[in-house]
């Protein structure tokens, strides 16, 4: 019942915060969010699962109750964690707490609604990672949209309305496509499948695959479904060329929402890709490996090039997320232990680092009210600690060794270099060029914005950031370094859950 | 010798089309209403003719219901036309266009 407890605390907390007075909402929400954080850390310590949740693994904190009977199919309340989802749940709870604390400064109106929505989003994110029934999962998956829409729309930047609706509609269309594809798959699987429980579907997929449907052969159907689901998730990830909602949403969102958006929401897409496409369709992964790898490489390089062209700090970080997600795709398609494990590791790592970056940029924005590198210079002079953390985060993003980003990227590169698909080394080498580009645009931005003689175009007095803005970043930095020095803190857990995937066709 | 059922149907269809033509071309609300009545009566012709053809009374009974309901409809319709006139000073159905698109 631990997962239920997590969800309940977050949901009830959201309601309580929603009706709490604005004055205390921030502190209250933070206090509430500590409960899931602590619980999830305890779960992390007490984790006793093994194997992959979809592939006959032993689930931790499992619970399953039949919910709705649709005649031929049943829908269950079915949650549980394995080595892939648990780190992501912990990431979610910790990042939420820190995001809440980092909102104390910038959020100055309708606080109770803001923090209520943040807690609500936390609940849904936990649900996405914990749910093992398709419908249940899909509920959480879609329900994330509402709070994020409102967070961007109400507390966002100047183009918030455009960004919010774009995010909302674009990702929803993708979800519909994915939903349709999955339903078709389940129908195609025939009588062998009587529920939407993901393990059951995965099992059926791996033991025979679908019969024909819509006049399509079984294998054709599987391919169609694979492609459709890939496209559906590709928007959420996002993968070039479906990425254009992301810079708008990230840039316009208020800092804490950006933190969650980049930190956790993007991982929903890659997590889903891993759970669905890359777990259930080993044959199709093999067939489509080369195009997918090409997409990954394009995402990496193209995203980095776009970041290079930006002058808005937040936009830079936003586009760099496109690039980083490209690495994840590359790792997934590698279909090796280090590839998929590294991709999962990168999900966590990127969540931490991009969260840190958005917080740091946010702190600078709070002080200067601008994010354009052309508007400022020498911020290190006025806010040394914040800038120090920004620099540290930037180096983390660049994959500086002994920070989690390096571990993740190294695992991915290593996993992809030896992958089984054609030209894997070449694709990997191309994708790796991202580490040069990322250094290019981040260092360039740093040079212009935080170093050099002090200058600020906006009319604000810049002073040191308060402790509650800085503290969350220190926590993140600590975790980033800890994971960089000791990746096995989670990597062992992850690979344990990844291995069963590889037994179904991938090569070790 | 009886008249073939198809002639009844043709008649009723003709009547129906005349009614429809009236509905489409008449702008006076009352003419509109009358045209609809024509269409209803076309149906009645069918019902009665087919009742005869099938040898049961169901159709005829239903025709009675139809007439009754047509009357009720006209009653309501006239009420609406009345308030229409009060508000728009006209019974031209194409005049009220405050709501569109």
């Amino acid at each position: 019942m631990m997962i239920e407890a997590l969800l309940a605390v977050a949901l009830v907390g959201a309601l309580v915060t929603f009706v709490a007075p604005n004055r205390i909402a921030g502190k209250l929400a933070f206090a509430i969010s500590l409960v899931p954080a602590a619980l999830s850390l305890w779960m992390f310590a007490a984790f006793d699962g093994s194997g992959n949740a979809l592939l006959d693994g032993t689930l931790a904190f499992e619970s399953q109750v039949e919910w709705i009977d649709l005649g031929s199919y049943t829908i269950s309340w079915f949650v549980g964690l394995d080595g892939i989802s648990l780190p992501l749940v912990v990431l979610t709870t910790i990042l939420t707490s820190l995001a809440i604390m980092s909102s104390w400064t910038p959020i100055d109106n309708r606080e109770s609604q803001f923090y209520g929505l943040i807690l609500f989003i936390e609940a849904n994110l936990i649900g996405v990672f914990a749910a093992l029934d398709f419908f249940l999962w899909f509920i959480f998956w879609e329900a994330v949209l509402i709070p994020m829409y409102l967070l961007i729309g109400i507390w966002g930047g100047p183009r918030r309305k455009y960004a919010a609706i774009k995010f909302f509609v674009y990702t929803n269309v993708a979800s519909l496509l994915m939903f349709g594809a999955f339903i078709a798959l389940v129908l195609g699987l025939g009588d062998g499948v009587t529920s939407f429980a993901l393990p059951e579907v995965a099992n059926a997929m791996l033991n025979g695959g679908p019969d024909g449907l819509f006049g399509l052969e079984g294998t054709t159907l599987a391919s169609v479904v694979f492609v459709a689901m890939f496209l559906g998730f590709a928007v959420k990830v996002p993968v070039v060329p479906f990425h254009t909602w992301l810079p708008d949403a990230h840039v316009e969102a208020p800092t804490p929402a950006s933190v969650l958006l980049a930190g956790v929401l993007l991982k929903m897409g890659t997590y889903a890709l891993l759970r669905f496409n890359f777990t259930m369709f080993p044959d199709q992964v093999e067939t489509y490996a080369v195009p997918i790898a090409a997409i990954a490489v394009i995402s990496v390089i193209y995203g980095a090039m776009l970041a290079l062209a930006q002058t808005d700090l937040k936009r830079i970080v936003a586009y760099s997320s496109v690039s980083s997600m490209g690495y994840v795709i590359l790792g997934l398609v590698a279909y090796t232990q280090f590839g998929i494990g590294g991709a999962t590791f990168q999900m966590v790592s990127h969540g931490l680092i991009s969260g840190l970056m958005f917080m740091a940029v946010g702190v600078i924005y709070n002080a200067t009210h601008t994010r354009l590198v052309t508007d400022m210079s020498g911020m290190a002079d006025r806010m040394p600690v914040a800038v120090g953390i920004l620099v540290a985060g930037a180096f983390g993003y660049m994959g500086l060794p002994l920070m989690s980003g390096f571990a993740a990227e190294y695992f991915i590169f290593f996993g992809a270099f030896g992958a089984g698909f054609d030209y894997a080394p070449l694709f990997t080498a191309l994708a790796m060029f991202g580490i040069v580009l990322v250094a290019g645009y981040l260092l360039f931005a740093l040079q212009r914005a935080v170093f050099g003689p002090y200058r600020l175009e906006t009319d604000y007095e810049v002073s040191r950031a308060p402790l509650h803005d800085i503290a969350p970043m220190f926590v993140l930095l600590g975790i980033i370094i800890a994971l960089g020095v000791a990746p096995d803190l989670i990597f062992e857990m992850i690979t344990d859950a990844v291995d069963p995937i590889l037994e179904n066709g991938g090569e070790l | 010798m009886s008249i073939g059922i198809e002639y009844y149907v043709l008649l009723s269809m003709g009547l129906f089309c005349i009614g429809l033509f009236g509905v489409l071309t008449r702008r006076n609300a009352l003419m509109f209403l009358m045209s609809v009545e024509l269409m209803l009566n076309a149906a009645n012709i069918n019902l009665i003719a087919f009742a005869f053809y099938h040898g049961n009374l169901t159709g005829q009974v239903f025709a009675l219901f139809t007439m009754a309901l047509a009357a009720a409809e006209v009653a309501v319709g006239l009420g609406i036309i009345l308030v229409l006139y009060r508000n728009f000073r006209d019974v031209d159905v194409t005049v009220p266009t405050t709501m569109r698109w």
Partner: protein
């Protein structure tokens, strides 16, 4: 169970209770036409609706209408099969009663300072009676009568604001299109009668199954198509939808809510019943050469497309909801389009679920518009800007309705819409054309998200464009809205029983 000993006609109790309530109000109106005792009138009406609801729910759980093989009490035929009370009937009686109860409670505030109060309530309840009867009607005769019983008061209700040009214009258009549609419908009935010689649904089916209508296939086909026209009018489906935008926009908001939720549901129940009972797909196809589901496939696609596209750029909130209501008719039509010769209960059940959820969320949305009319803030999106700062609870409820209409969890609309989507895909396995319906659903869903969230944006994101006085909090409207909102939310976790009921009802009638 005690019910068993009651005479058969008592199975109609939900409708009868409404009828009695309507007559009581009618009598009251005759005695005291100018009474402004709002509490008494609204209370009576709401009470009647609630009792009807309670009885219908009780019947459902007691097993009335449930086939005996499933341990129920069996379907109950009344008047020689002219009316039948089965699970389907009870289900829709519940929907109608819910909507009626909600809007009568809401009308308590909406009708303040309004003359002809009693007339209003009696018309509402009479129309509700008609709709309730439509759920049970089992012969083209009773269907037509019940349909007119529902329609005639509706015309009057739409035009009840006699000095309001919008209301009158709406009434006129509704009436004229309604008259034309019922003429077509009756003509259709006459053709079907001509082809089969029967009006009772089972008898028609028997004739069709016997293949006795050779040579009249075209006639039967035309008749069926005309019947579809009649249903399309009632459910506001394209091309019989033209009345809907104006009627919903011009009518008093509770009436709009009533028509778009209950009336639509009633239209669907007769469609469900007629097409599953009277025209078994396989046999009918053998006669008319084409599956009538194709008509519904076309109608579903066109209806959802027209409704959603036209809604997308509306400025007037009520009109947007009106078009969205057309769009939802298109969604529900999937329930008919997805039927197959040997099944389809799931997709039809999904449509039924959707209509139930729709009863809450759409009614709630229109009632919120009613609240806004009461506040006199204006009618356009812009006029609604920033209302959440002054009325957060109502606006939160409205956000719930809108997101639910858009099919976003964690609200009820999510499940029903996605079950429809799922049903459409399931049906595609038999009828590939249903894939087009599924695709259209995706496109329209996206578009609907756009315009629903536009309203959410106006309420929650935009700054107020003008300064407003303090907004009143009328009890009845608020109560109705909040109840609807709460139901929209809690129906998601509690969807199990809804699914069971709807699927059983659908299975019984399809199978």
């Amino acid at each position: 169970m005690a019910v068993f000993e009651l005479p058969g006609w008592t199975a109609l109790a939900p409708a009868l209770i409404l009828a009695v309530t309507g007559l009581v109000l009618f009598v009251f109106d005759s005695i005291s036409p100018n009474s402004t005792n709002r509490s008494l009138l609204a209370g009576t009406a709401a009470g009647g609706a609630l009792v009807s609801l309670a009885v219908a729910v009780w019947f459902t759980f007691a097993g009335v209408g449930t086939p005996t093989v499933d341990g129920g009490l069996g379907e109950i035929s009344i008047l020689g099969g002219q009316l039948v009370v089965d699970q389907l009937a009870l289900y829709f009686m519940i929907v109608v009663a819910i909507v009626t109860a909600l809007i009568t409670v809401a009308s308590y505030d909406y009708l303040v300072d309004h003359t002809y109060q009693a007339e209003y309530y009696s018309l509402i309840i009479l129309a509700a009676t008609g709709m309730s009867l439509m759920a049970a009607a089992n012969s083209l005769v009773t269907i037509f009568i019940a349909l007119e019983l529902a329609s005639l008061p509706s015309y009057a209700l739409v035009a009840i604001l006699k000095d309001n040009r919008g209301s009158v214009e709406a009434g006129l258009k509704y009436f004229l299109i309604g008259a034309l549609s019922s003429a077509i419908f009756v003509y259709g009935i006459s053709l079907v009668y001509g082809a089969t010689g029967h009006l009772q649904l089972e008898n028609i089916a028997a004739v069709i199954s016997g293949g006795d209508v050779d040579g009249y296939g075209g006639l039967l086909g035309l008749g069926i198509l005309m019947l579809i026209g009649g249903f399309a009018f009632k459910t506001a489906s394209v091309p019989f939808h033209f009345w809907a935008p104006e009627a919903y926009e011009g009518a008093p908001a509770p009436v709009s809510a009533f028509l778009s939720s209950a009336s639509k549901a009633a239209g669907f129940v007769i469609a469900f019943r007629v097409f599953t009972t009277a025209f078994p797909l396989g046999e009918t196809t053998a006669l008319i050469g084409v599956e009538w589901t194709h008509a519904f496939i076309i109608l579903a696609i066109v209806t959802m497309t027209v409704g959603n596209f036209a809604a997308a750029t509306q400025d007037n909130v009520k009109r947007m909801l009106a078009y969205s209501s057309i769009g939802h008719a298109g969604y529900a039509l999937i329930g008919l389009a997805g039927l197959t010769a040997d099944g389809g209960e799931f997709v039809m059940g999904a449509a039924m679920m959707h209509l139930l959820v729709y009863g809450f969320m759409n009614t709630g949305a229109f009632l919120f518009v009613g609240l806004a009319e009461r506040w006199e803030v204006g009618r356009t999106f812009e006029d609604y800007n920033g209302l959440s700062t002054q009325a957060p609870v109502a606006c939160a409820a409205m956000a719930v309705f809108l997101f639910s209409l858009a099919g976003i969890p964690p609200f009820g609309g999510f499940f029903s819409k996605f079950f429809l989507f799922m049903g459409a895909i399931e049906a595609s396995a038999e009828t590939t054309a249903m894939l087009a319906v599924a695709a259209a659903l995706v496109v329209n869903s996206a578009l609907s998200l756009y315009y629903y969230s536009r309203l959410v944006k106006a309420l929650w994101i935009e700054e107020p464009s003008t300064t407003r006085d303090r907004l009143a909090q009328p009890t009845g409207l608020y109560a109705a809205i909040i109840v609807a909102a709460v139901m929209t939310v809690v129906i998601l976790p509690g969807f199990g029983p809804v699914v069971d009921t709807a699927l059983e009802a659908a299975t019984a009638i399809v199978g």
